[in-house]
């Protein structure tokens, strides 16, 4: 049986989310604040630097939220255009990355709720993507692909919490901040997401045999 991993994310003072988002060091925030201020002055190079810093994380989030690379690409563009237009409203109370993630999650949820999402097999999307490189171990690849397909079947609220916590690596406090919920709600959503994934992956008791 796998042993639980020691969670060093919470309360350690050293956030373990992606470095593009959850650093609390003042220098990192000052650097990002400098870029934001330059963007506000119309400096496109600064906005491109912000894009380069955060685009991969946003793209991966969008892809796993909607399960479709083409739509993820469109969403990526929309997220950053929205970010550019909403920069005047960013007051610096939250970390910039948190603000950006919040915007991205809301955009993805709006897209899903609008019914515009065309879910295709995530494995098909990944196969067609130039960015996908299968692992050398077929069994682990199969497990990952099964999970990918199951994630897009989760209810939206479970999906966003699960992606932020278990896939992107944020702590519950950060997830709560991004989703605008209490920390306890984040824990509950992630736990329910995992239980639902277990069911979707066919691991619930009546499907399993002989363990």
């Amino acid at each position: 049986m796998l042993a639980p991993m020691q969670d060093v994310r919470e309360g350690s003072g050293v956030p373990r989310g992606p470095s593009s988002v959850s650093s609390t060091t003042h220098q990192a925030r000052a650097e990002e604040a400098t870029l934001v201020a330059r963007c506000r002055s119309g400096d496109m190079e600064a906005f491109e630097a912000i894009y380069r810093r955060h685009s991969s994380a946003m793209y991966n989030l969008a892809f796993r939220m909607v399960g479709n690379l083409t739509e993820a690409e469109d969403l990526l563009q929309e997220i950053f255009l929205q970010a550019y237009n909403k920069l005047p409203s960013y007051e610096g109370r939250a970390a910039f990355g948190t603000w950006l993630y919040r915007l991205a999650v809301n955009r993805c949820l709006d897209h899903l709720r609008s019914g515009a999402a065309h879910r295709q097999s995530v494995t098909k999307s990944l196969d067609e993507s130039a960015g996908f490189s299968p692992s050398a171990a077929p069994e682990s690849t199969s497990a990952r692909l099964d999970l990918e397909n199951a994630i897009v079947q989760l209810p939206h609220s479970y999906r966003s919490a699960f992606l932020l916590y278990d896939v992107q690596g944020f702590g519950h406090r950060e997830v709560a901040d991004i989703l605008g919920v209490a920390e306890g709600t984040s824990k509950s959503l992630v736990h329910k997401a995992r239980l639902k994934l277990r069911e979707l992956l066919g691991k619930s008791p009546r499907e399993k045999s002989g363990e």
């Binding site: 049986m1 000052a30 201020a37 906005f47 380069r52 793209y59 950053f80 409203s89 699960f162 399993k208």
Partner: protein, 242 residues
Amino acid sequence: MNEDRYRAKLGDYVDGSMSGSEQQSLEAHLETCQSCRAMAADLLEIKSTAGSLERVTPPGDVWKRIADSIRAETGAPQASPWQSGLAKNAWSHRWALAATAIILIGTLAIMNQLDFFPSEPPEGSVEWVAAELRAADEHYQNAIQALEKIVAKDQSTLDPEVMAVLRENLMVIEDAIGESRTAARQQPESMVAGDSLLTALRRKLSLLQNTVLLINEVRKGQGENALDLIDEMRDSESPDPS
């Protein structure tokens, strides 16, 4: 603890966030309960697999499309949509805001018998920028101290719970002021650091102004106005929207 309660704890177990004694108790149960053991193993595997999912790379042309859209909206290579018609120099724009704030401080100064004069924002060197920032900081601090005296003298007028909330909000703003001031000292050439400091000082000033107004409204027996003001203050300190 019955089985349902153990199962409810599996989320914390998987996250590694249980206390030592809780974890021991749960693990002792897992040794005797096959279904809980299987569930724990599955949840751990899901978490582990999730952390190792393949990352996809955004297509290379997305940035160009974003940049082209922005340029098409703004109609100029590097124009910002919200700055059209304003001063070309970003610093003079910000110092215009600072001057406006200083004029507001001057209005308060009449209430508190202090004397302030707005500064003209000439263009200048890094030293000039740092000196102007220090001057603005000092003006803000003077106004803030005057307001703090009023609040300290009359805070018993307000409900203790309201005062507790106001103090909590002040603490948050003071943290921001401290951080911004340090950044401005370390990076005197940084527009952002100066901006952050002024924004935080404006927030503190605004909160204290509203506190004084609230005290006055309560004194006059204007309960409804006081409640409106409390709502406004609460909303102004709520997290960023979106």
